[in-house]
Each structure stands twice: as structure tokens, then as C-alpha cells.
């Protein structure tokens, strides 16, 4: 498993795709900076308010899209050059190959989250937000957002492994991500829509303009872990049986 990870990391490092980890944090940072003037005298709420603003584009749009883009890319160089048959005729287990690919994408998303939150701290430092940073809210938001991405990664990996076309998995991803903007406003659909989960997990509770946030965290975790097990399991079974 460790060797597979190193080999995979080498292939990833030399492609330029990992640079995409910077896109969403930078955009969110700019967004957070530009909205800054409207937040006044909120005390500690300055932190959560800014986090809320930054979260909207990041969690509704970019995070779900990035799961798909990273998954497609990490499979693309195997599809294009016949890498699958070379990789799988080496003494490596298929299960580990699949899990390592998912692990790599999860790490890329984790780094994206860390950069995102670095952006928030940067804004706070620039504007002189209160020193008592609401660590609980922020870490729940960042880590929760990352966990909510895992089922999406599992599903996108399944699709990316199955289809040798690069565009098809991305199309699936976009088709399911775009309705997010509507679905996050719908109390009845949002808890069960996997693409909306990163947003639900990341949005700090202070802004209650979204009805869906009344959904209990238990429900969310059941939906997230349920879909993770479903997508990961079916993807893994498919890959183990796939004829190369």
C-alpha cells in the first residue's frame, strides 16, 4: 500500500492537475475580502459570517466539482497510455490500487480545505477580527466539508474507472452539481442529495436563512456514511471484477 502510494504520488506530482487545489481557496479569499465591508461590529460572529460567505461558492460549486476533476485526472493517465494493464499485471492487489487512488483524491481535497481555511485566517488577520477565534465552528466546518466529499469522491472514482472517456465523468459531475444551487434551498431534498452535503456540513449554523440546516447532524452522518459505503463498495466490486 505504501509503495502504491509513492508510485501514485510520483505520477500525480509530475502532472499539473494538483495546481487546481489553489483555485477555490483563492476565489473564496477574494470573495471574503470583497464582502468584508458589510460585516460590522459582529464581534466573534465576524469569523462565522466571513466563513459563511466564503463557503457558498466553495462548498456549493467548487468542492463537488473538484472531487470529479481530481478523480477523472487520476484515472486519465491510466486510460490514455494503457496504464491499467501495466499496473494490474504488476504484483499489486486491485483493491489497494483502487483505495490508494481514492486516498490521493481525498488528500487533495483535504489540502484544498486547509488552504481555504488559511484564506479565512488571512482575512481575519488583515481586518483585525477578535483574537478569540471560534475554533470549534471552523474546524467542524472544514473537517465536516471534507468528510461530506468522501462519498462524492467514491462515486466519481467509480465513474472515472468505468469510462475511459475523460469528459463523461466530468459531465456527470457537472450535471449533479449545478442543481445544488436550487436544492440547498429545499428543505425536503437537501438532506438526501449527496452533492449538497459538503455545503450543509461547511455552512456555520449562525446563518439560518437556509431551512435545511434544521436537519439534525445524525441524519446527515447517516446519509453521508451510507452513501460512502454504497459508492465505495460498488466501485470496489466493479474494479475487482473489471476485465482490462
Amino acid at each position: 500500500m505504501g509503495r502504491l502510494f509513492r508510485s501514485e504520488f510520483l505520477k500525480l506530482r509530475k502532472s499539473s492537475i494538483w495546481l487546481l487545489i489553489f483555485v477555490s481557496p483563492i476565489l473564496s479569499l477574494l470573495l471574503g475580502l470583497s464582502e468584508l465591508s458589510e460585516i460590522e461590529e459582529l464581534g466573534q460572529h465576524q469569523w462565522t459570517a466571513t466563513l459563511g460567505i466564503m463557503t457558498i461558492s466553495h462548498a456549493i460549486l467548487f468542492l463537488p466539482l473538484l472531487t470529479g476533476i481530481f478523480s477523472s485526472f487520476i484515472c486519465r493517465y491510466e486510460h490514455v497510455g494503457g496504464g491499467w494493464k501495466q499496473l494490474l499485471s504488476l504484483p499489486v492487489s486491485r483493491r489497494n490500487v483502487y483505495l490508494v487512488k481514492i486516498l490521493i483524491v481525498s488528500l487533495l481535497i483535504a489540502v484544498t480545505q486547509i488552504l481555504f481555511i488559511t484564506g479565512l485566517f488571512f482575512i481575519g488577520w488583515m481586518k483585525g477580527y477578535p483574537a478569540d477565534i471560534p475554533w470549534g465552528t471552523i474546524s467542524t466546518s472544514v473537517i465536516g466539508g471534507w468528510i461530506a466529499c468522501l462519498p462524492l469522491i467514491a462515486l466519481q472514482m467509480f465513474v472515472s474507472v468505468a469510462w475511459s472517456s475523460f469528459a463523461a465523468p466530468l459531465a456527470v459531475n457537472v450535471i449533479f452539481t449545478i442543481p445544488n444551487m436550487m436544492i440547498v434551498n429545499s428543505e425536503s431534498f437537501v438532506p438526501y442529495y449527496p452533492w449538497a452535503q459538503p455545503f450543509l456540513m461547511m455552512m456555520p449554523n449562525s446563518s439560518d436563512s437556509f431551512g435545511a440546516l434544521n436537519v439534525s447532524s445524525e441524519t446527515l452522518f447517516i446519509v453521508i456514511f451510507g452513501s460512502l459505503i454504497l459508492f465505495l463498495g460498488s466501485g470496489l466490486v466493479y474494479f475487482m471484477r473489471k476485465e482490462i
Binding site: R3, S7, L10, K14, S15, Y77, L87, P91, R241
Partner: protein, 304 residues
């Protein structure tokens, strides 16, 4: 334990209802260069993919190094180097990095990369991205990758595809040298008989999924029956004259042919022609080439 490195038993692969590989019993002994021959689409690559565990047999079993591939796949693959169909590569990596990505998985020393690069003479291009390589260079990189793990068994599917004549000779010499120098067993597939003829010690011919011949290449050569061709001045009357003397010959293309003629019979026919005042221009032996045997075995659609 049997002395076969590869032994398949009634290996069958169906795609839908079509049998692509049909009850193939492949047997490869240690130290052999096994030429796996067949027209395009005969089932060579499918068989090789099953040998490497990339595809699952519909029926039948595969034993490599005396181990069942279903149970001990990773232990087997550790000792197998392979190149399947067109070469595999990561275009965004250099040749060196491509080998490094595989080396990490095989856990062999780094020095092995330089060794295999020099074997296939890619040392000077090692730092270039592979996407700029010619097909022949990619093929050589594929062979280098196959050699990387010091394999005991090398499975090469169409290894000389896309190589220029000097590259073909180089790879052929390389393949021929390996059993002697390192005791490696090699399976080489090809749709070109001349290719196999120049390398292989054993040959297996597959056509439409069935193994139609499997033996040493000298046995295959022995199958070539010879004919005696007579060129005479007046063919038709000579043929009739011979017939009245009780000798049957075939008349075609203005020549007389004697099938399976013993030396005595040939001598008698020649004698009787001379006695009847025919001018004999040539008496030649015609041997069927391996190509013709191959075509005969694989049927007419087995285009080379």
C-alpha cells in the same frame, strides 16, 4: 510438480456466446522461447491477458510456476514481466520516471533502471517526456519495463510491432540471448511466422480460438512435404506417355509434379521420359514453405 512453467488446461473465454479462446492447452517448458502464433483476432492477446490475470477465464485453469493463478496471483506476477499489445506508458513522465513508478512497486534497486535503459538503448532519451517518443521508442521502453523486475518469465505480445528493421533485429537478438544468459522463459506472440521462425524453439499456433498445433519448430518444418517438379518440352504428350507406362503425375502450369515420389520412382519416370525422346530441362524438388503450412493450418482467412 510438473516441469512446465505455464500450463493451461481447457482454457476458454467467451464474450457473449462467441468463444474467443476455446479449450486451449498451452504448455511452456522452462528455458524455452515459445512462439505464440496466429492471425489477427485468433485469441492470442485474450489468452495472454488471462495468463496475466487481467481477464478471467470462462472455463479452464491456468498454472504458472506450478501455482494456480486464481489463488496465488501476486506471487506469480512478482516473477513475470509483460508487455501486452501496444506499449503502456505515462505520457507526462519521462522514460526514467515511468520506470521509477514501476520500480517502486516491484521494490528492486534503483540501479536496475539504468541497467534496463541501457539494454534497450534509451539511456540518452531517459529524461525526455515519453509523449514525444516514437512508437519504436515506446515499445523499447515497454520491454525495459518488462525486464525491470528480473522476471523468470517474460510474456511479450507482439514485441516488434512498430519497430524499424534494425530495431526488430536488436529486439530479436535480445530475446534470443535471454534464456541462455539468465535462464528466462519467454512467450512471444506474433502474427508473423517469419518472426517466430527466427526466435522460437517451441511454437503454438492458434486459429479462431483453438490451438491447432503445438510442438517444436522442427516438427513444424518436418510437416512440409516435398514434390518433384519436372520441366519437359512437350508437357501434355509426356503426361500421356507416362500414363500409358503406368505412372501418374500431376500436370499443372506446364510442369509435371510427382507427389511423395521415392528416389526409385523418380528415376524410373525420368528414364522412361528419356527413352521416349523427351527433352528434360529441369528436375527440381519443391518444398512447402512454413508460410504455406501456416496458411494451410489456419485456413484461407488467416491472412498474414
Amino acid at each position: 510438480m510438473s516441469d512446465f512453467i505455464i500450463e493451461t488446461s481447457r482454457l476458454t473465454k467467451k464474450f457473449g456466446s462467441r468463444k474467443v479462446v476455446d479449450h486451449v492447452d498451452l504448455k511452456v517448458k522452462k528455458g524455452e522461447i515459445y512462439g505464440f502464433l496466429g492471425p489477427n483476432g485468433a485469441g492470442k492477446t485474450t489468452t495472454i491477458r488471462m495468463l496475466l490475470g487481467l481477464a478471467r477465464p470462462t472455463k479452464g485453469s491456468i498454472q504458472i510456476f506450478g501455482k494456480d493463478i486464481r489463488k496465488e496471483k501476486l506471487a506469480i506476477l512478482k516473477k513475470v514481466g509483460s508487455l501486452v499489445e501496444y506499449p503502456s506508458y505515462y505520457g507526462h513522465l519521462s522514460a526514467y520516471e515511468n520506470l521509477e513508478a514501476v520500480r517502486i512497486l516491484l521494490d528492486v534497486p534503483k540501479s536496475r533502471i539504468d541497467e534496463v535503459l541501457s539494454i534497450v538503448r534509451l539511456t540518452n532519451d531517459a529524461k525526455r517526456p515519453v509523449k514525444g517518443f516514437s512508437l519504436g521508442m515506446k515499445q523499447r521502453l515497454g520491454i525495459a519495463t518488462a525486464l525491470l523486475g528480473n522476471p523468470e518469465l517474460l510474456i511479450l505480445d507482439e514485441p516488434t510491432n512498430g519497430l524499424d528493421p534494425s530495431g526488430i533485429i536488436e529486439i530479436r537478438e535480445l530475446i534470443k540471448s535471454m534464456p541462455k544468459e539468465h535462464g528466462i522463459t519467454i512467450v512471444v506472440s506474433s502474427h508473423l511466422l517469419s518472426e517466430i521462425d527466427q526466435m522460437a524453439t517451441q511454437v503454438g499456433i492458434i486459429s479462431k480460438g483453438r490451438m491447432i498445433f503445438q510442438d517444436s519448430i522442427s516438427t513444424l518444418r518436418a510437416q512440409s512435404t516435398s514434390k518433384i517438379k519436372l520441366t519437359v518440352n512437350d508437357v501434355e504428350s509426356a503426361w500421356k506417355t507416362l500414363l500409358t507406362h503406368g505412372y501418374t503425375t500431376d500436370l499443372s502450369q506446364n510442369n509435371l509434379f510427382i507427389e511423395n515420389g521415392s528416389d526409385e520412382k523418380v528415376a524410373e519416370i525420368v528414364k522412361s521420359l528419356v527413352q521416349n525422346d523427351y527433352s528434360i530441362y529441369r528436375v527440381e524438388e519443391e518444398r512447402k514453405s512454413l508460410e504455406e503450412i501456416f496458411l494451410e493450418l489456419t485456413g484461407k482467412e488467416g491472412g498474414l
